[in-house]
């Protein structure tokens, strides 16, 4: 009885130990075989590119001629390039306004869906559909709906007596227009927050109600802390995405034949990087720009992580 009940994981003699070692080695080999696609892909398409991009950033390279080593000149040039400054300003402007708005709108819609109860499925579908629209088409919709003279937005605004701005041509209004249309695709964040809301245990609300807590107290003392993890996730993911915003703005304001628009206002960092790399073939300079972007994103993500320690409640943390 006593011998049968000992756990099989505790071998009593050396032959069993050796067998275990052999099986573990075979195990490792099998595991490496399964993950080998990723290892190859990582080495070829991630690790080497990172190293090579670091090297390129110290060179002058136009694809046709060999890279010419110029030390830190590219970084020096970036500091003095007014377009880099402009692109950074545009990108920060967009990120600082878009991310909080995006999170707030997502939360408001998720709360609405949560209150809708059994009809939530239908509305959720409606909220998610824009997310399926290809970003190129979103960029085109921006030009059409926000058109200053006869676009839908200004037509609706004129009904209530507001003389809408020239969203797509007035430099002051180009970025607000891009931010507004980006809110159209909050769908996936709404789904994440709705799932988080539905995971909040009902008992918490029941006992709070017994204690006489009102709606505001329930929202701020129960709901928001309980979904703060999901909120933080959306916040970080969208900040990283906002720093790299490209397609909608590029579609609407850049490209062949499009020089009439005041596109300085829409020159985001990745757009300028793309132009430098693939339109002007300054691959060394574009690589240096990529590293600056990487640094900025790392700093912001680290800051947000530090903040999250103070504001985010993770279940199980205190148990």
């Amino acid at each position: 009885m006593a011998t049968t009940s000992t756990s099989p994981g505790a071998p009593s003699d050396t032959s069993a130990l050796r067998a275990k070692r052999i099986s573990r080695r075979r195990n490792t080999r099998a595991a490496l075989l399964f993950i080998s696609p990723w290892i190859i892909g990582f080495l070829v398409f991630t690790a080497w590119p990172i190293i090579y991009s670091g090297y390129l950033s110290l060179t002058n390279y136009d694809v046709i001629n060999d890279p010419e080593f110029i030390g830190l000149d590219n970084y020096q040039r970036m500091l003095e390039d007014p377009k880099v400054r402009l692109a950074l300003w545009n990108t920060f402007y967009f990120t600082v306004l878009q991310v909080p708005l995006y999170v707030m709108v997502s939360l408001a819609l998720a709360l609405l869906l949560y209150k809708a109860g059994r009809s939530a499925g239908f509305f959720r579908t409606a909220f998610f559909l824009p997310k399926m629209t290809p970003p190129v088409a979103v960029g085109i919709l921006l030009l059409l709906l926000f058109n200053g003279q006869n676009g839908l937005i200004n037509t609706v605004l004129s009904w209530v007596g507001i003389d809408g701005p020239a969203w797509t041509t007035d430099p002051t209004w180009v970025k607000p227009g891009l931010i507004l249309i980006s809110l159209w695709s909050v769908g996936s964040s709404v789904i994440i927050l709705l799932a988080a809301l539905q995971n909040v245990p009902q008992e918490l609300y029941d006992s709070a109600r017994v204690d006489g807590a009102n709606w505001w107290q329930q929202t701020f003392k129960i709901t928001l802390p309980m979904i703060s993890g999901a909120m933080f996730f959306i916040f970080i993911v969208n900040t990283i995405a906002a720093f790299q915003t490209f397609t909608e703005a590029y579609t609407a304001y850049f490209g062949a034949g499009n020089t009439t628009y005041s596109n300085d206002a829409a020159l985001f960092y990745v757009i300028y990087l793309f132009q430098q790399g693939f339109e002007f073939l300054n691959m060394g300079y574009a690589s240096a720009m990529a590293w600056l972007l990487f640094l900025i994103i790392m700093v912001f993500t680290a800051l947000q992580m530090m903040l999250s320690k103070r504001f985010v409640y993770y279940e199980g943390e205190q148990r």
Partner: protein, 309 residues
């Protein structure tokens, strides 16, 4: 690990009442629930207004695609002059059929290869225990944080050296090596499977491959479908890769072609917005169909990534 499984179940619950009319069992019935309150009416008014706001651009676009050139911007829901001409002209103005074929080719290959490769890798990370596993998986997660801009130029140089710029290969071939996000996602699902199943299969004589292919993969079918449709959407809608790699019009994917049409007919002197609008509809409709086919999987997949984050 158990938290993951619980999260998925909750998500699945939420995904159930997709079809309006089927009685869902989302929230356990609360006692003494008032029938109709002011708050409820306000909630629904808000929901319906927001829905209109979200759906209206589609209606606008679809309606405009049936209007003649002069009426595109008239902002009427129903076209005053109803015409199919745009749908005939767009095929003549641009090689739409070729673009659609290119996109289907790229999209199917991208989705299928990334699903298979990511599943293999995810399985390697979730089933086996080996030294360095957590370190390697840490690298997988770290690559998700890396901005695409850093690797974009060297990757282009690789494909350039292989002579594959201006071919469709760079659009999908990197998916042969798995993708960090899907590896992460699929691993979560694999970890949710009971280990006893695999031990039982092993006793029955299954080897590592058959355990993966015959036991684990069929059990994670929903997750594999999620990966497939996510990547299908990502590949279909991508503009940056085609901008970098595709030069000739006969190689374009639909988004790249749509951008070219916008440059030609939107601005650039040759104003034919009705062509741009119609091509936008043609680019978007396959994604709408994809969503309605895989709605449950989309919702579940997105909710899972959020709750695992």
């Amino acid at each position: 690990m158990t938290a993951g499984a619980v999260g998925t179940e909750h998500v699945d619950d939420a995904g159930a009442p997709d079809v309006p009319g089927t009685p869902p069992t989302r929230v356990p019935p609360r006692p003494r629930k008032p029938k109709i309150t002011v708050g409820k009416i306000l909630t629904f008014v808000a929901l319906i207004s927001v829905t209109l706001l979200f759906i209206y651009p589609f209606i606008w676009l679809l309606s405009a695609s049936f209007k003649p050139r002069g009426e595109v911007f008239d902002n009427k829901i129903l076209p005053e002059t109803f015409t199919f001409d745009n749908y005939i002209n767009v095929w003549q103005e641009a090689p739409m059929l070729l673009w659609l074929w290119n996109t289907v080719f790229v999209t199917v290959l991208a989705a299928v290869t990334v699903t298979i490769s990511s599943a293999l890798v995810a399985w390697g990370f979730s089933y086996f225990r080996f030294r360095g596993r957590n370190f390697l998986f840490g690298i997988v997660l770290a690559t998700m944080m890396l901005p695409g801009a850093v690797t974009m130029i060297p990757q282009f140089l690789i494909w350039n050296n292989l002579g594959m710029v201006n071919t469709l290969t760079p659009m999908w071939a990197q998916n042969l090596f798995g993708s960090a996000f899907y590896i992460f996602l699929l691993r979560q699902f694999f970890l949710g499977l009971p280990r006893d199943l695999f031990e039982a299969a092993r006793i029955d004589g299954a080897n590592n491959w058959t355990i993966f292919a015959r036991v684990a993969a069929p059990l994670t079918k929903p997750a594999l479908i999620i990966t497939l449709i996510f990547e299908f959407q990502a590949a279909w809608t991508d503009l940056m890769r085609p901008l970098i790699y595709l030069r000739d019009s006969d190689k374009f994917t639909v988004p790249r072609g749509l951008k070219a049409l916008l440059d030609q007919y939107g601005f650039g002197g040759n104003w034919h917005w009705e062509i741009v609008v119609t091509a936008s509809v043609i680019t978007t409709v396959p994604m709408i169909i994809l969503f309605f086919l895989g709605q449950r999987h989309f919702v579940q997949g997105i909710a899972t990534t959020g709750t695992k984050g």
